[in-house]
Symmetry: C2
Subunit: 336 residues, 2 copies
């Protein structure tokens, strides 16, 4: 039994923007296993996200519905509700709150966005028109929340499958808006600002044209969007999707480009499902903060399959060990 399955040796790689390191270590994926980590479905009761079960959730805060339907009843296509088990709670901050203290109330908005009234597990089970409308709801809800003076930042994300942290199977997304820019994102923005000052162009535009020119990490290109496995991938088969044209905010997208994005996302997810055997995954939508002017930022989507996972070394050092070279990951996902 050989120690390393490929002829490639481990490699340290550093993200030139953030300074973040990863170790790409192809031998790690060959480890023997004492455990069967396959999960079983156990739900027996009604799914709170299925059409007809609207009373199982909190009242809707936004929905796309058929003209004759009533709020909080059937007849919707996408439905946004407050998370019943929230990480943050809405409410007005006290007049003297500064958010500079080391401890303050967990104010913010934690939405659940039910992607579809049908009980499907994946965006790939939906029509392109449905995914496009879902993206448009993301856009509308972000635009709405950006008017809340105390909110600074929002992340829209999906946890798909229990290995990715999902507790419910029915396809859904989450939006978490908070009164601060997360320090990690703040550092990235600051690095991007310095880069664009120094280089005279957007870091992400430069990255994108390098990836497009090189080609070995490209997963697919479609109608104004590029999906690739980043050189400094933290996770096996990690994929980033960028709009080819520089744009700071996802919320500023036009209806036409939303449907191209829907097609791109579906193609990438189909590649993951087909080539990797339907793993769980997280999807992250990184858009600019609500109030800060960040023309040097370029919005993106990250997809993080739960094939490898963080353990002691990652938690202890912040350096991820990724068992799959991004170049090989992209090749696998291209099916070539």
């Amino acid at each position: 039994m050989g120690a390393i399955s490929t002829d490639k040796k481990p490699e340290f790689r550093k993200d030139p923007l953030t300074g973040r390191w990863v170790i790409i270590a192809p031998g790690r994926s060959q480890r023997p296993q004492d455990y069967d980590t396959a999960v079983r479905r156990v739900r027996s009761g009604p799914c709170p996200f299925c059409e007809g079960n609207e009373s199982e959730t909190t009242p809707e805060v936004l929905a796309r519905r058929h003209p004759n339907s009533e709020p909080n009843g059937p007849g919707w296509r996408v439905r946004v509700v407050s998370n019943k088990y929230p990480a943050v709670c809405s409410g007005m901050p006290a007049a003297d709150s500064t958010f500079a203290a080391s401890c303050f109330p967990g104010l913010g908005i934690h939405d659940v966005i039910v992607d579809t009234p049908r009980h499907v597990a994946s965006l790939t089970d939906m029509a392109i028109s449905e995914v496009t409308e879902l993206l448009d709801v993301f856009r509308e809800r972000l635009a709405q929340l950006s008017n809340e003076p105390y909110l600074e930042y929002a992340l829209i994300f999906k946890n798909v499958g229990p290995t990715a942290g999902a507790s419910l199977e029915h396809s859904h997304s989450q939006l978490l808006a908070i009164p601060m820019v997360p320090p990690l994102f703040g550092s990235e923005l600051e690095a991007a600002r310095r880069w664009s000052e120094r280089e005279g162009q957007c870091y992400y535009c430069q990255l994108l044209s390098q990836e497009q020119a090189g080609g070995d990490r490209i997963v697919l290109r479609h109608s104004g969007f590029t999906a690739f496995c980043p050189f400094v991938s933290r996770f096996a088969y990690e994929i980033w999707i960028f709009p080819d044209t520089h744009a700071e905010r996802f919320e500023a997208m036009t209806p036409g480009s939303l449907s191209s994005l829907a097609e791109t996302i579906q193609s990438v997810l189909k590649a993951i499902e087909t080539r990797l055997g339907k793993p769980g995954y997280n999807v992250l939508l990184h858009t600019a903060p609500f109030r800060k002017k960040t023309p040097y930022f370029h919005w993106r989507i990250e997809i993080l399959p739960s094939v490898s996972r963080a353990a002691g070394f990652e938690w202890g050092t912040g350096i991820h060990i990724n068992p799959v070279f991004p170049e090989e990951a992209a090749q696998t996902l291209r099916g070539s």
Copy 2:
């Protein structure tokens, strides 16, 4: 069905040293579950870590054995071998390598330390004398590797149970030594240096006396060691263990204090197993870097139970959502 199980509201908390934020959100733990994530043991072949199966591993690089036993055969108590599926590989760096480039070979040392010849799953199944000897092997191996001129840093860690990233059940530890100080740790060290310059004392000593005086986050105190749930816990039931007396390096510990530490660790792990139903967990041993002078650092052990897990929001923002207030976690772990 109420949204929040306790009367406590979510709270943002910031680590005063590192600036890292967490959200403590007690309502999150009440979520319904579509999935049974219980794992099953599947191994049928011989365990590579059991006594008698030494040929299943790479040759030992260090072992504590009975005087008449032969290397790589039975008769050992603790055994250190090179990881067969390494994240980094030993070898001499090229003469011109700088480790400042954005990509370099994954050089370093990745050991597996087999805690005991017997097939047990936990340090709590071992005698105190055995755990003490294991800690002494940690000490000896760190001291050995600190003499390798190209290595700057090592983390010793344990992944226990599949939810914590372990692939094998037999109790074992890992040591990963690399040619750089991880940036995350570098930032912590720099913050600790500035703190001690400004305040005239070690940050961690100050933290420790505050926790000891307050008491509500203390899990236990034993013979020169204090275990508590940090104010800014990333994970539910996270526990940090510090030596009460300032010490930069774990490797400098005396034999007497090693056995007190062994007792402390076992008591903390017994509390986790008894009160939380034997979850998986990671153990991290943070000691000073090999070559950098860091008198302002205070070594510690972190124990991270896999009760809550990182998902989309954590990966997207670096802000952890922890469903259990550390004050309640400590109370639960104390059994009071």
